[in-house]
């Protein structure tokens, strides 16, 4: 993967939050998204077309504004207005918007900008305006390589999201997942990576061996996953920039359910031997392996708290699958789920305050969240089969996968990626070229 060279020139950053009237509350289900106008970015004269993957991209200013609009609409928090109602030319609007005209079409916020493309450089300038208070809220400029134009759109989306909600965005991120094809009895599975909006999909393995449960490092371009290479199910590490893969540790049996520690220095996973699965960590620098749980039951799906002090995991030591929390050294194990049904796949929120999980009850599968002591359980979505939530880096959105019922010939079967807001609103299908499962959300690529 090409490293992004991104320089940010801060022209003028308006920072008087108290003055602005436009605010988006993201703590409630947003049934009244903020009307926002995204003016196509004006392409300055003398700009060239962008050549990317054998395709010619004309008018990149308009393309960037479309990517921003899609991000906003999918977030459920914004309502991007139709461009045919815009009355001001993009270049003039960017210099001095006629606020009354934008208010007339009910826009409460306005994004304007301009781009200049040369052979090796894309320069983008954008502004966010509060049309009600008639004020500029952000003005920023970026320079990058022309091929990075989609990332520029995501970075602008994140800046606007942050300015209007007060929280970090999640648009300049990627999703790693398992691409699935073929019959249900013999699925071909490949690791795939894409931008959070589904663009730029790339396949990282060939499908020769079964691969499962990829997870991003929160710190760098490493991914950990389970591969059945040579029919030995083991946890692997993959550097997505170099393509280098290696097996994690030297275990005489199946290792699975891997995740990174929040500092990216350790991998926590299950090791199964003689019918018993326990949780282990391996330090990636020193290669020291530590046994964290020691119980005759199945202990799996471990996930660290963001401060690294606790681990939440899944165990059937009570007889059936339930969720437990312990200190990161394995001490003070405490069961936190006591509701009806089975609980699995716990994942600690990057904000630290919640744990997302899968619940199975009376033949239905639920994605839910609860506080870290197990209280305040909220079920966000119910379906025939769905599991494995992964948090957006700002802890506001969960991505997971859902499978449909099939007949004995496998007809009707599909596996798809979905996202839902923490509030339980805004459930959305994430379109992928093939079927998909086991999604994992990256950290913000640029902060």
């Amino acid at each position: 993967m090409k490293k992004l060279i991104l320089t940010v020139f801060c022209i003028f950053l308006f920072n008087g939050k108290a003055l602005s009237l436009v605010q988006v509350d993201i703590t409630r289900g947003n049934l009244d998204p903020l009307p926002i106008a995204v003016s196509p970015l004006h392409v300055e004269s003398g700009s060239k077309d962008i050549k990317q993957d054998g395709k010619i991209i004309k008018n990149v200013g308009e393309k960037i504004s479309k990517v921003i609009e899609v991000n906003f609409r999918r977030s459920g928090l914004f309502n991007p207005l139709k461009k045919d109602s815009f009355v001001q030319n993009p270049d003039i609007a960017h210099v001095k918007p006629r606020f009354e005209d934008w208010r007339l079409i009910k826009a409460q916020a306005l994004v304007t900008g301009k781009v200049k493309v040369t052979d090796d450089k894309l320069r983008v300038e954008f502004r966010l305006w509060d049309t009600v208070a008639a004020k500029e809220m952000i003005a920023l400029a970026f320079s990058t390589t022309p091929n990075n134009w989609r990332r520029v759109a995501h970075i602008i989306s994140d800046k606007v999201y942050k300015r209007l909600t007060g929280e970090e965005g999640y648009f300049d991120t990627r999703i790693i997942y398992v691409s699935e094809t073929g019959p249900k009895t013999q699925r071909y599975k490949k690791l795939a990576i894409m931008d959070q909006d589904g663009a730029n999909v790339k396949y990282l393995t060939l499908g020769n061996e079964l691969v499962l449960t990829p997870r991003f490092s929160p710190k760098n371009q490493l991914v950990t996953y389970l591969s059945y290479f040579r029919n030995l199910p083991r946890v692997y590490l993959l550097d997505i920039e170099t393509g280098v893969q290696e097996v994690v540790g030297d275990f005489p049996g199946m290792t699975f359910a891997p995740r990174f520690s929040p500092d990216g220095k350790k991998i926590i996973m299950s090791f199964a031997k003689d019918g018993n699965s326990d949780i282990y960590t391996m330090n990636l620098e020193t290669r020291v392996v530590e046994k964290i749980t020691d119980h005759t039951s199945i202990d799996t799906s471990p996930s660290y708290s963001p401060d690294g002090k606790y681990i939440v995991f899944n165990s059937d030591r009570s007889g059936l699958q339930q969720i437990y929390v312990m200190r990161s050294d394995g001490s003070q194990v405490k069961r936190i789920t006591f509701g009806k049904g089975l609980y699995g796949t716990p994942v600690w929120s990057p904000r630290g305050d919640l744990i997302a999980f899968t619940k199975v009850h009376k033949g239905k599968f639920y994605i839910g969240v609860m506080r870290t002591d197990g209280s305040g359980e909220r079920l966000l979505t119910e379906n025939f089969y769905q599991e494995a939530p992964s948090w957006s880096p700002n802890g506001r959105v969960l991505i997971f996968y859902r499978e449909t019922k099939s007949d004995s010939q496998g007809k009707g079967f599909s596996a798809k990626l979905w996202s839902i807001d923490l509030t339980g609103y805004n459930e959305r299908l994430i379109e992928t070229e093939t079927d998909g499962s086991d999604p994992s959300w990256s950290s913000l690529l640029s902060k």
């Binding site: 249900k184 199910p233 359910a257 299950s270 899944n314 059937d316 199975v360 033949g363 019922k405 004995s408």
Partner: protein
Amino acid sequence: MILGMDFKKFLMVVLAGIALSACATQKKAGMMAGDVYTGSDTVEYLATGVKDRVFFATNKSTLTTASRDTLRKQAAWMRKKKDLKFTIEGHADERGTREYNLALGERRANAVKDYLMTYGINGSRLSVISYGKERPVNSGSSPLAWSQNRRSVTVKAD
């Protein structure tokens, strides 16, 4: 007389109908005991009379009486085939979370391995692998399909 003949015929038809329906329910009930599959639709044979697989209840790795019978036959045959090694594949149905199912498949395969060892098969001849819910034998989403997929299969290792 004629009436009597007709009545006899009628009675015979009714009786046949009862017998048939009894047969049908018996067959259906015979496919599963509790939720453990007891049929042989998906079963293959390692040798004549030696079934290659055993079935499990939901979330369980306990061997049923029928499973132990199958495994004793496997062990008897393995004792005669001293030069062969085997892989025991553990599987789960699609109604559980992927990671837990991987562990469950491993536990099921080991339950089989342990039983074979108590009947004299050296552990070095038996390796286990769990596929979790990744390799169903029946693609359906029905209790019967799930019962056929909760299994442990003994295969010759190459």
